[in-house]
Amino acid sequence: MSVTTVERAAPRETPSPEPSYLTAEHTVGSWLLTRDHKRIALLFFASITFFFFVGGIAATLMRLNLATPQGLLQPSVYNRMFTMHGIIMVWFFLIPSIPTTFGNFFIPLMIGARDLAFPRVNLGSWYVFNLSGLVVLYSLVMGGADTGWTFYTPLSASYANGYVFAAAMAVFINGFSSIMTSLNFIVTIHRLRAPGMTWLRLPLFVWGIYAVSVVMLTATPVLAMDTLLLAVERFIGVGLFDPTRGGDPILWQHMFWFYSHPAVYIMILPAMGVVSEIIPCYARRPIFGYVGMVLALMAIAILSFFVWAHHMFVAGISIYAGVFFSLTTFFVAVPSAIKVFNWTVSLHKGSIVFDAPMLYSLGFVLLFTVGGVTGLMLATLAIDVGVHGTYFVIAHFHYIMVGATVSAYFAALHYWWPKITGRLYPESWARFAAILTYVGFNLTFFPQFILGYLGMPRRSYTYPVEWQSWNVLSSAGASILAVAYALPLLYLGWSLIWGRKAGPNPWGATGLEWTTPSPPPDHNFSSTPTVVHEPYLYDPEKATFVSQEGTRHAG
């Protein structure tokens, strides 16, 4: 196996022979009707950034309202704000955040393929996503739904008078977008791997996206059916969840959470994949227990379907179902514990560089650990009876969704920014933004754990005066977090024009995507690469690394 040593030369300025995917064509049609997975990734990136800020505005209004007991918004406006914040953030930012942008862009590059299996289906997924975005914006502009993002019947079916039908249909249509994306990934990873890229040589990000796609493909249809039945019940006034006709409102909860708990794993699995890419690169050493990580990813994907009723311990389900689902929830925490352990030990004997992606990833590991551990508290039946429906639950899932997933999203954004745009971002600003995110986040959501155990119910626009100090602390933290999320927009935008040119491999990483010039040409690889090594072949002792197709580099 010939190993050619290439000195890590300064990024020489030889113009790459082919034009990059950005400069290949310039017409609007070439963007809106593109079949190139890299351009579709950027289209998705634009859509979800827009929805991230729409959801963020709803969140800031809520935090302003909760800064004082008497509040800022009318009750009906606050109720619609938290509902739309939930719907937009869950379905229009978190679920598509990493798979549709970095998944679309890097899965073909990482497995050595020229494009995804079905490019037209991929573009269709973006258009279906935007269609559902229009429907949710219609529902938001016309007044929004006031049922909470969980749409519990019979409130959502017959008592709420907001735009529940439009919101439910938006979620229904959005389901198809994630199905089309996940279908594309599964078939691509099965069929289009480069020669030599066996299953155990796949980078962990590709495994993460594969696990997410399996969960998306099998969980989303149940939500589609659920929201369809709700829309039918809402539209004709008679439905399957109507207690006045013998229907069971808890049946809605069963089918909703059968989707929505795997959905929270849809949000965290790609984030785990991203962090498993970044930590070895900046610790300059192979990941600890690669096979253990792969098994943990797939175990989470499968076990996530057995735990959904831990959202319903006090909803009136039978005691034995409560005990059963509490037990399975403890077992689903085991793979997550393995992954946290492996990430931490992956720092052992490395030569660690604390760049921005690494800071975001370490922030991910810490916040995910706190989120996971409080999740186990909520899985303990007696504690859940005390804190269900209070701010303890809100703090728990924000630690996982915002603390872990959004930190990993920003980590991926910084880690792959040079490859996507060919530019390097200012390192000091990025580190400041990462630390500010971590501080702002903890200040926002840790007080809510205390409020939760004190008994402050969620989804209420007011609270007793004695808790104002905690809420003011939380609102202050929220403003810091808002700044920390806006900062990357500024300096990354700045780097687009004035940033230094990035060579093919600025961080010295081993993935196949780093063997292409950045930004990569239209068809990724001029000749299909053959893979010889497993991923993450870093050697901290001799400070060299071997990329997956066999060339050894210094650094």
Binding site: Y152, P286, S326, A333, K349, A382, G389
Partner: protein
């Protein structure tokens, strides 16, 4: 006992103390795990930062025993907490007979409380201290959730059936009652007070309400008004199951199943007789689901339970 813990909610019920101990145990175990992860990240981060002299020789890529050890340790610790939590849950969610009973009906944005003695309250619940109070809850419209933070008890109130939960206050005082399942516009103000009083104060409070006709007596009037006595009375000619002493016994149904005659069962029989015909009786009972309000059903249940009691005292 918990005064020395900062920011701790007040604890005013027997089960609240048990939950407190479990919560503290969870905090300790979770704190340990988070501390371990933070310590390891800091230690490795400092010791193996780029340019540090530490040796990187014979780097460990995979050791199953360390990984399996860490996982089984954490799983073992949490399974103990699971068993402890589950036992409290089963103890809490199987309401015993209780010394006192209270009927609570959740209606959009208010809690309507009815005591067996006929006293009615809105958004307030007066209970004696050191007594096991059994709360029977129903909802008239959407799903609410009966939550008293000081007692650490909570149960969703689902329209269509009756739910029961119990508590035993061990401290007098006024504690907040809250609805934690979003139920519409004024969900945030659907709150009330649980006023735990000593026994004499509670007795005096009951008499002050000035209502003489107990819930059971009101139930008897409803029982006669809707013609139930026509079939179910002692001396009626119609072949119908006798209701005397029914409460708390096991009933054999037509389809072979056996159901404990608790409030939910009696309510089902009144409103949906067809699916609960008792073995050996013709399914002729008319369907009352259109004519009886939630309060009247609760009154009938109180009356049917009272028939059971008088027979025992009679023996």
């Amino acid at each position: 006992m918990y005064r020395w813990i900062p920011f701790w909610p007040d604890t005013a019920a027997v089960n609240a103390e048990v939950v407190n101990n479990l919560y503290i145990a969870e905090l300790i175990v979770s704190g340990l795990i988070v501390a371990t992860v933070v310590a390891m990240i800091l230690a490795f981060g400092v010791r193996y930062r780029r340019g540090s002299p530490a040796s990187r020789a014979n780097l460990v890529q995979k050791t199953w025993h360390l990984e399996v050890g860490w996982t089984t340790a954490t799983l073992g610790a949490f399974l103990i907490l699971f068993v402890w939590g589950a036992s409290i849950y089963i103890w809490l969610f199987q309401a015993p007979q209780g010394d006192e009973e209270v009927y609570v009906v959740g209606k959009r944005w208010m809690w309507k409380v009815e005591h067996p003695g006929g006293q009615r309250e809105i958004n307030a619940l007066h209970v004696p201290v050191d007594k096991t109070i059994r709360v029977v809850m129903g909802s008239e419209d959407v799903i609410h959730s009966f939550f008293v933070p000081a007692f650490r008890i909570k149960h969703d109130v689902v329209p269509g059936t009756l739910q029961t939960i119990w508590f035993k206050a061990n401290k007098t005082g006024v504690f907040r009652l809250v609805c934690t399942q979003f139920c519409g516009l004024q969900h945030a103000t659907m709150q009330g007070e649980v006023d735990v009083m000593s026994a004499p104060d509670y007795a005096r409070w009951l008499t002050e309400q000035g209502v003489h006709e107990s819930l059971a007596d009101q139930g008897r009037d409803v029982f006669r008004a809707h013609g139930c006595s026509g079939c179910h009375d002692e001396n009626s000619t119609v072949h119908a199951p006798s209701l005397a002493g029914l409460y708390g016994t096991y009933v054999h149904l037509q389809d072979g199943s056996v159901r404990l005659a608790d409030e939910a069962y009696i309510r089902d029989c009144i409103l949906n007789p067809r699916s609960f015909t008792v073995a050996g009786f013709p399914p002729v009972m008319p369907d009352f689901s259109g004519q009886l309000g939630e309060d009247e059903v609760l009154k009938l249940i109180a009356y049917i339970k009272s028939i059971g009691k008088t027979r025992e005292t009679g023996r």
